[in-house]
Symmetry: C2
Subunit: 283 residues, 2 copies
């Protein structure tokens, strides 16, 4: 495994592999790697010969009151993790390498797709992600890129970007990896106190129950969703959103149709920790 910090070196490494006829998959991460990332790496390996991982905490996707400063960072541990997983190249750029020193004049604007879910709650979040992923795609030049379903809205926006910007790669979505008690794995789970960690799986359990009710015939789930959110509040969660969304446009849907596929997605706070989760289901 090689670890590179500069754009020239990551390009040299990836082009070197590709010139040997190797197919290269890319998994961008913000480090603080856990078993969720591991499942992405393994899926990446199924789609390619070599896997390249980037570790970069992108300041552009954090709001002024968000946890950029406190976001968990542990490069040495992450690199050990990558090595054990058979990653070929790890790209660990600095802010200066990613964004340079000068003023930025260009930005990527997103219509509609980021009006709700995390896009609605976190202004500038997906513009920041589109910006850095667009850069990383052009820097790394992979054949395949893997993102997790846990950030489904992110996947959908990047999917749209690949299409509209004509990035020359195949995009793959990895399923959500969960702890035994159902909690979706996340770097932010590290923030949870013991009590919060014990409470956390209730969110997913609630979401599974809602999907069950819908699949049993409840095609207007809004009042159930309201009731369940109230329940979560009484247990100690603070709700951000919990709704059914369309898969492509990422807009809330109140009246579901049999046979269609939807996304049930939620975001809550436990203390200061923000947790998100989702289920893709057929109605």
């Amino acid at each position: 495994m090689i670890v590179v910090e500069t754009i020239d070196k990551i390009r040299e490494a990836v082009k070197g592999l590709q010139s040997e006829g190797k197919k290269v998959a890319f998994v961008p991460t913000m480090g603080a790697l856990h078993n969720g990332h591991l499942s992405l790496f393994r899926l990446a390996k199924k789609h390619a010969d070599e896997v390249v991982v980037s570790i970069y905490v992108n300041p552009e996707q954090f709001g002024p009151n968000e946890d950029f400063g406190n976001y968990p960072r542990n490069l040495e541990r992450d690199l050990t993790f990558c090595k054990e997983e058979g990653i070929s190249v790890v790209f660990t750029p600095s802010d200066e390498i990613m964004y340079g020193k000068g003023k930025k004049f260009l930005s990527i604007e997103i219509e509609e797709l980021n009006d709700y879910l995390d896009g609605g709650s976190r202004p500038g979040y997906f513009q920041g992600i589109a910006l850095v992923v667009n850069k990383l795609f052009n820097i790394v030049g992979p054949d395949v890129a893997v993102f997790g379903q846990k950030d489904y809205q992110q996947f959908q926006i990047i999917h749209q970007m690949v299409k509209e910007f004509n990035h020359d790669l195949e995009l793959v979505m990895a399923p959500i990896e969960r702890a035994e008690d159902g909690l979706a794995l996340s770097s932010r789970n590290a923030y949870l106190s013991k009590e919060e960690r014990e409470l956390a799986p209730l969110m997913y359990n609630t979401m599974k129950k809602v999907v069950q009710e819908i699949q049993n015939g409840l095609l207007e789930p809004d009042s159930l969703l309201d009731k369940e959110q109230q329940q979560l509040e009484t247990k100690g969660f603070k709700n951000d959103y919990l709704s059914v969304f369309s898969m492509n446009r990422m807009t809330p849907v109140s009246q579901l149709k049999k046979g269609e596929t939807y996304l049930l997605a939620g975001a809550v706070y436990l203390g200061k920790t923000r947790l998100i989760d989702n289920i893709i289901f057929e109605c």
Copy 2:
């Protein structure tokens, strides 16, 4: 020379050349080729082994009251021209291939660099150019791309995009090609009546005179520029702008500094035809 219409085929052609170790230069055009394009092709050839040209009139960069419908198109003539110039591959995509049928959700926003000059006069113009050039870079994947100085603001915005989006290519600027009487070559010159064509070089002659005055020591040229614009109006021109701009930020400069490099740029109408021109000069 091969002519291809689809994204798969242009990628196959360019990657084929590159896999033989050939360096590929790309010249995006809107067709209606003239000797100005020819000078771009020849410069491209100096920077690479093979030259790829795209011919595509991009609807996204025309305003609702601009000349998209009437823009000169003559593919057969253009292809003959390309063949004579030793172009290897010509990419002639349809609107559907470039933009698909579905709704577009993403756009590229530009700060400051497009506030003046053509960016100020033509809202959405450079967003449309950034959009299509970003797509073309990702579709074609060239090693070098060549743009003309005549659209200096376009060059500067694309230069900034290559930097901020990390496009993996070298950008080259070709000098302005002129008719014998000094008129900058442009596809839109074809719109000019005989009388307008005879009058047209006065714009460049005026600009040369202004640069001469500045280089003779006139460091606050605004009143001279006003006077010269009035002169042009009396001769039959309609002025859009004529100013000195900073080379990087594309903002007007009233107080020039000895030893600095600036852009004198102008846009006028002769009848319905819009003409632009510029001179890069050291003060």
